[in-house]
């Protein structure tokens, strides 16, 4: 037996084969350098920070999607949930500030209101998908519509202005050791989520359920609970991202998340998350978000027309996944 095993292992791994796992990061670097030849400011400290900050929002949403994509689903309602959270948080923040509460109370109320909206969306999706057994597409398409309706109704369709400056001071302009709040928070979430996925029963269960839900059930995993929790976690992460975005805009925007659902899925998938479930993680989400952000930042620097950018982005989504396939096959 043992001699066969030896024979079965490929004798030598060529340099090219060693490189495959790094295909996407290398492509990323090439992209960055390529654009830098067009405009050197692309690699300036200011723009690198700019890229990092832009990435942190998209990465948060891509991470949220990843949680449910791991279970073989996805969340179309993520974008509208972001809008709904933004508006709700802004309304509560302005109302609380108007009522003369102290800054801490105002902040807490606003954050709570936003997160509560996220929880509500997550519970809805979770219940409909896990308990009623509706496919994620239909369930989250339903909540997509519901969230749009709620966001425009409670805001009256207009931006909610007068959000206390404190909110932005803390969550947007605030820095920790010179690093902007959004990057710090997204980074912290990434580390935490990574630990959850790799080190907790819940994380492990996500992968197992996504790979073979039936087997997970037979082996005694609480599949419904895991699914419901996945959608809850997704919406809560989306809500967190929405709060950061609201701090970035300084107002509650009823259309803030308009096209984020598909963008976040695309970012996750480009990074190597598999829509067939059970494959991907925090790393793939961040990689994908970084890729998409650098690409559009670079194209902006290179002064490429908006519509051409759409075409390039579309091609890149497919290319990213093809690269990932090749990488898997090479392994």
């Amino acid at each position: 037996m043992s001699d066969i095993e030896l024979a079965a292992t490929p004798p030598t791994v060529t340099f090219a084969e060693r490189l495959w796992p790094w295909a996407l990061p290398i492509a990323l670097l090439a992209l960055l350098l390529g654009f830098a030849t067009v405009d050197a400011r692309m690699l300036g400290a200011a723009n690198l920070l700019n890229i990092a900050q832009q990435t942190s929002y998209l990465a948060l949403f891509a991470m949220a999607q990843t949680v449910v994509i791991l279970t073989r689903g996805f969340d179309l309602s993520l974008g509208p949930t972001v809008s709904m959270v933004s508006v709700a948080a802004a309304l509560v923040l302005t109302a609380a500030a108007g009522a003369g509460h102290g800054p801490v109370a105002v902040l807490l109320l606003g954050l709570l209101a936003g997160l509560a909206m996220g929880v509500a969306a997550g519970v809805f999706n979770g219940v409909v998908i896990a308990l009623l057994g509706v496919s994620p597409f239909v369930a989250t398409l339903g909540s997509y519509n519901v969230a749009i309706g709620i966001a425009t109704t409670i805001s009256g369709g207009r931006p909610v202005q007068g959000v206390p400056d404190l909110f932005a001071t803390l969550l947007y302009r605030g820095t920790v050791l010179g690093v902007p709040a959004a990057i710090v928070i997204a980074g912290a979430v990434a580390v935490l989520l990574h630990l959850v996925l790799r080190r907790t029963v819940f994380g492990r269960s996500l992968y197992l359920v996504g790979t073979n839900a039936r087997a997970a059930l037979v082996a005694g995993l609480p599949v419904k609970r895991i699914l419901a929790l996945a959608y809850l976690l997704c919406s809560v992460l989306a809500a967190l991202g929405a709060l950061l975005m609201t701090a970035r805009t300084g107002s509650g925007e009823p259309n803030l998340g308009g096209s984020l659902s598909l963008q976040a899925i695309a970012a996750a998938v480009v990074g190597g998350t598999s829509l067939a479930g059970g494959r991907g993680g925090v790393g793939t989400a961040i990689l994908g978000a970084l890729f998409v952000t650098i690409l559009s930042n670079g194209m902006n620097f290179a002064r490429i027309d908006g519509y051409v950018q759409m075409v390039v982005l579309g091609a890149i989504v497919i290319l990213g996944v093809v690269l990932d396939r090749a990488r898997l096959r090479a392994r």
Binding site: V128, V134, G142, V146, T153, L262, D305, G314, I316, V317
Partner: protein, 337 residues
């Protein structure tokens, strides 16, 4: 000999397994129509019925292709973008052909329609080849081509509506009626009948089911997967393009704003509510058409009931989820008893 008894357990007869999920949609539709007729007499007014039918036709045409793609185990997010692309390509081509063949409306229309359908065919071909050759999931491929197609549509027009189509195309075809019904309705009906036939009686239909049901089994049985997968995407692209052309004829201008995410989501919703499984291998086009009718009538009802526009999506979303949840629960019940 206990063979008959064995057969009883091993092979449920068709009649014994009456599929309640098939009956649910018509029931919902009847409830909707009955309820609306009580509340709002305009609902069954001839003009309104005409509206519903016309809008159903557009959605049905797109959803038919979408359904075939999903039954084969794929996903087509690009249909909305194709509707837009076909519209502007068709209009632009007619503008150009109008200069080449002045006065010859038939040639102009033929060029325009051909180019429009051709653009759908090209996008479908790209989708299908990417899915089958690169072995990338349909969701991802069409997510990419959706963005690219929309980009091309906008590049062509810069977003400005394209005019200059022959009058006959707009007045005769787009807004024309035969026996009181818009031409689009006949077209959708004819396509539906053709697709029913394709699904039940042709090799293509059979293979689409087989590939979506279990692709590996189809391969070892000697079915060439690639050709048929490409076929479904091309079909979906061409049908979406046809819808784009119909919109162009109706509105009288080529617009890059037709279709969009909305049409894409609606077409998938119609397929899924119509009983097409996103896992592939299951679904009938006639139910999909019924679901398209249901969705359109529901939207129309919300407008007629004068529900606040901002709240309409809330109702739409809840009804959609409730309908599919009810289907799912009915299915479970059937399985138990």
């Amino acid at each position: 000999m206990n063979a008959p008894a064995l057969a009883l357990r091993g092979m449920p007869s068709r009649a014994a397994r009456f599929d309640w999920t098939l009956a649910l949609l018509p029931i919902l539709l009847v409830l909707l129509v009955a309820g609306m007729s009580l509340v709002s007499p305009q609902f069954y007014g001839p003009m309104n019925v005409l509206n519903i039918l016309r809008n159903t036709s557009f959605l049905t045409i797109v959803a038919l292709g979408q359904a075939m793609v999903i039954i084969a185990g794929g996903f087509d997010l690009s249909v909305g973008a194709v509707v837009a692309l076909a519209s502007v390509v068709c209009a632009k081509t007619m503008g150009w052909a109008g200069a080449v063949f002045p006065g010859n409306d038939a040639a102009v229309v033929l060029c325009g329609v051909g180019a429009g359908l051709g653009s759908g065919l090209v996008v479908g071909l790209v989708n299908g080849l990417c899915v089958s050759r690169l072995k990338v999931s349909g969701f991802v491929v069409t997510l990419g081509t959706m963005s690219a197609t929309a980009g091309v549509g906008l590049m062509i027009t810069s977003g400005i509506p394209v005019y200059g189509m022959p009058d006959g195309f707009v007045k005769g075809f787009g807004r024309g009626q035969v026996l009181g019904l818009p031409i689009a309705v006949y077209l959708a009906l004819a396509l539906l009948l053709v697709m029913i036939f394709v699904q039940r009686r042709t090799l293509f239909g059979r293979y689409v089911y087989a590939i979506g049901g279990h692709a590996e089994a189809a391969v070892v049985s000697g079915v060439s997967i690639e050709r048929h997968v490409v076929g479904t995407y091309v079909l979906s692209g061409v049908l979406a393009a046809l819808a784009g052309i119909l919109y162009t004829a109706l509105v009288g201008s080529g617009q890059a704003s037709f279709g969009g995410d909305r049409m894409m989501l609606q077409s998938i919703a119609a397929a899924v509510i119509g009983g097409v499984s996103l896992r592939g291998g299951v679904g009938r086009v006639e139910s999909v058409a019924l679901a398209a009718l249901f969705l359109t009538a529901l939207g129309n009802a919300l407008n007629l009931l004068q529900v606040d526009a901002r709240l309409q999506p809330v109702f739409l979303g809840l009804v959609m989820v409730a309908a599919v949840a009810a289907e799912e629960l009915a299915r479970r019940r059937v399985h138990r008893v």
